[in-house]
C-alpha cells in the first residue's frame, strides 16, 4: 500500500513539474517587452540574409506559427501542449533548414545523457565512498585533509572548473584536443576511443564539482551516525569494521543522499549545459547555444522543452529507485 501511494505521488509530481515548466516556457516570450517575432526577424536580417518583401512576410507568418502566436491565448496554450505532447513536432530547424528539429535533438540527446549519467554516477559513488570512510574514521589525518580539499572544491561552479581544465590541459599542456572531434564510423573502435578521449575533460569538470559536495555531506552524515547507540552496540557485539561501516552506517546515511541526488539533477544539468558549450561538446547544451546564436527559434523551443522533460524524467527515475535503498517503503 505504502509503495503504491509513494509511486502515485511521485508520478503526480512528475506531471506537475513538466506542466509548470512548459507553462513557464510558453509564457516567457509573451511577457517580453519586445515582440518576439519582430526581434527574431531583426536578428535574421542583421545576419545579412537578403530577403524580398514577400519573403519577409512569409518568414513573419512562419515565425508567428512557430511561436504559436495565432488565435486567442487559450487556443495558443492548448496548441502548444498538443504540439509538445501529442504530435511531438517542433517543425524544421531554421538554421539547418529543412532538417527537422526532432532529428537534431535525437542526435544530441544521447551525448548529453552519456556525459551527465556517467559523470554524475562516478561523482556520487566515489564521493560517497570517500565521505563514508572520512566520516567513519574522522580522526584520521587523511580524512581531515580530504575534507579541506572538498571545502575548497565544492563552491566552485562548473564552468570555472571547466575553464581551469581547459587552461591547464589544452593550452599549457596540450594533452587534450582544442576542438571536439570524433572520428570513424559509428560504434567502431576508433569512434568509441576518440569519443571517450574527447569527453574526458568535460566529464572530469562535472565529476570534480559534484565530488566535493558528496564527500562533505556524506562525511557529516556518517560521522553523526557512527556515534549512534546501535553502532556502539554492533561494536560490542563484535561485528567487523567493514560490516559496521556498510550494513550499519552506510545503509542509514545513503537515504538522504539519494533524495538530494534527485533534487540536484536540475542544478547538475544547468552546470553541464555551460560545460558542454565551453568544450563544444555535441550535446543539448551546445545545440541550445547555437540555436540562440543563429536565432533558430524552432530548435531553441525544442531543446528547452526536451531539457525540462529530460530533467523531470531523471528525477522521477531516481525517486522510483528510492525504495530499493529504503526497505520501509518496499516491504509494506
Amino acid at each position: 500500500m505504502q509503495f503504491a501511494k509513494f509511486v502515485v505521488t511521485r508520478i503526480i509530481a512528475y506531471i506537475l513539474v513538466i506542466w509548470i515548466g512548459i507553462t513557464v516556457v510558453f509564457f516567457v516570450p509573451r511577457f517580453m517587452p519586445s515582440d518576439p517575432v519582430e526581434a527574431m526577424l531583426g536578428r535574421i536580417m542583421t545576419r545579412g540574409a537578403y530577403m524580398e518583401a514577400e519573403q519577409v512576410e512569409a518568414m513573419r507568418a512562419t515565425l508567428t506559427q512557430a511561436f504559436g502566436l495565432e488565435g486567442t491565448l487559450a487556443e495558443q496554450y492548448f496548441g502548444f501542449f498538443q504540439r509538445t505532447f501529442v504530435t511531438r513536432e517542433f517543425g524544421p530547424s531554421l538554421s539547418m533548414f529543412p532538417t527537422p528539429v526532432n532529428e537534431l535533438i535525437g542526435r544530441a540527446l544521447p551525448w548529453t545523457l552519456a556525459l551527465l549519467l556517467s559523470s554524475t554516477i562516478i561523482a556520487w559513488i566515489v564521493g560517497n565512498a570517500i565521505g563514508l570512510l572520512a566520516g567513519y574514521k574522522s580522526r584520521w589525518i587523511s580524512s581531515r585533509t580530504l575534507e579541506i580539499i572538498a571545502i575548497f572544491v565544492y563552491p566552485i561552479p562548473y564552468y570555472i572548473t571547466a575553464l581551469i581544465l581547459i587552461i591547464l590541459f589544452i593550452h599549457i599542456n596540450p594533452i587534450f584536443p582544442l576542438f571536439f572531434s570524433v572520428q570513424g564510423e559509428a560504434w567502431s573502435w576508433e569512434f568509441v576511443s576518440s569519443a571517450v578521449y574527447n569527453s574526458v575533460l568535460p566529464a572530469l569538470s562535472i565529476v570534480i564539482v559534484g565530488f566535493g559536495w558528496w564527500v562533505l555531506s556524506m562525511k557529516a552524515l556518517s560521522s553523526s551516525i557512527s556515534e549512534e547507540d546501535f553502532v556502539y552496540f554492533a561494536k560490542l557485539k563484535g561485528a567487523g569494521e567493514g560490516r559496521i561501516m556498510t550494513a550499519y552506517v552506510l545503509r542509514n546515511a545513503i537515504l538522504p543522499q539519494v533524495t538530494v541526488l534527485a533534487l540536484q539533477i536540475g542544478a547538475i544539468f544547468n552546470g553541464a549545459l555551460i560545460t558542454e558549450i565551453l568544450f563544444s561538446y555535441p550535446g543539448l547544451g551546445t545545440m541550445t547555444y547555437n540555436a540562440v546564436l543563429q536565432a533558430d527559434y524552432n530548435l531553441l523551443m525544442g531543446t528547452i522543452t526536451i531539457s525540462i522533460i529530460a530533467v523531470a524524467t531523471s528525477t522521477l527515475i531516481i525517486d522510483l529507485l528510492y525504495p530499493f535503498f529504503d526497505p520501509r517503503i518496499r516491504q509494506r
Binding site: V24, F152, H171
Partner: protein
Amino acid sequence: MRNSNPRLRVGIVILAAFILLGGILPFFSPEDPRAWIRHPRNLPPSAEHLLGTTNLGQDTFWLLSYATQNSLFIGVFVAFFATLIGVFAGLAAGFLGGVPDRIITLFADVFIVVPSLPILILMSSLLQGRASLVLISIILILFNWPWPARQMRSIALSMRERQFVNTARFSGSGTFTILAEEIAPHIFSWAMANFVNTVLVAIATESGLAVIGLSSLEEATLGTMIYWALQHQALLGQRWWWIGSPVVAIIVLFICLFLLSTGIANLSAERRGHGDA
C-alpha cells in the same frame, strides 16, 4: 564568539577584501573601466596597471573592481528577496498547514526540479543581450526562494510543537508577538546562512549565463569579463592576467561565501547546544 570557528573568521577577512574591491574602490576609479582603448593593449602587470590591460585597452584591475561591484549587487539583491520570500512562504506553510501548505510545498518542489538555465537562456535570447541586471535578478529570485521555503517549513513544523511556543501562547501572546519574539531569533541565524549561500548561487548563475554571453553585455560582471576574454582569444594568446583575474576572483569569492555560510550555521548550532540545554 570563541576561537572555535576558524571558517567564519577566514570568511569575514576575505569578504572584507571583496567589499573593499567591489564596494569602495569603484568610486575612486580614475576612468570608466568599461570604455575601450583607454590604454595600450595587452600590457603585462606594472605599477601603473596592477593587473595589466586587456586586448580592448581597458585596465584589468579597475575593470575587475567594477565587475565585482555588479556581481555583488546581483548576489545581495537576489539573496535578500529570495530569502525574504522563502522565509515567509515557509513559515506560512508550516504554521497554516492544510491547503496553503500543500500549494506552497508543491510550487517549491516544482521550482527546485525545473532547470532554470534553459529558461534564462530563452529569455536572454529574446532580449538579445539587453537584459538588465535587475530583470535577470528577478528571474533568479523566482528560482531561489524554494530552498529557504522548504527548510523554513520544516523548522516551523517543529517549532509549532515546542514547549516555549505553547507557553507563550497560553500566557496570552498573539500570533504575531510569538513570531516576532519567540521564533524570529531562532530562525535569524539560519536565514543568515541561507542568505550568504544564495548570494553564492545567484552570482554563480549570473556569471554562468554571462560566460556564454547571455547576460547583460552592456554591463561588466565577473562573468562578462570572462566572456570578453574568451571572445578575444585570451586563451590562445596566453593572456593569463586578463582571463585569470576574474577566474581567481570568482574562486576566492565563492570559497569565502561558502566558509561564511557554513561558519554561521556552525555558530548557531554551537549556540543552540550551549544556550538551550
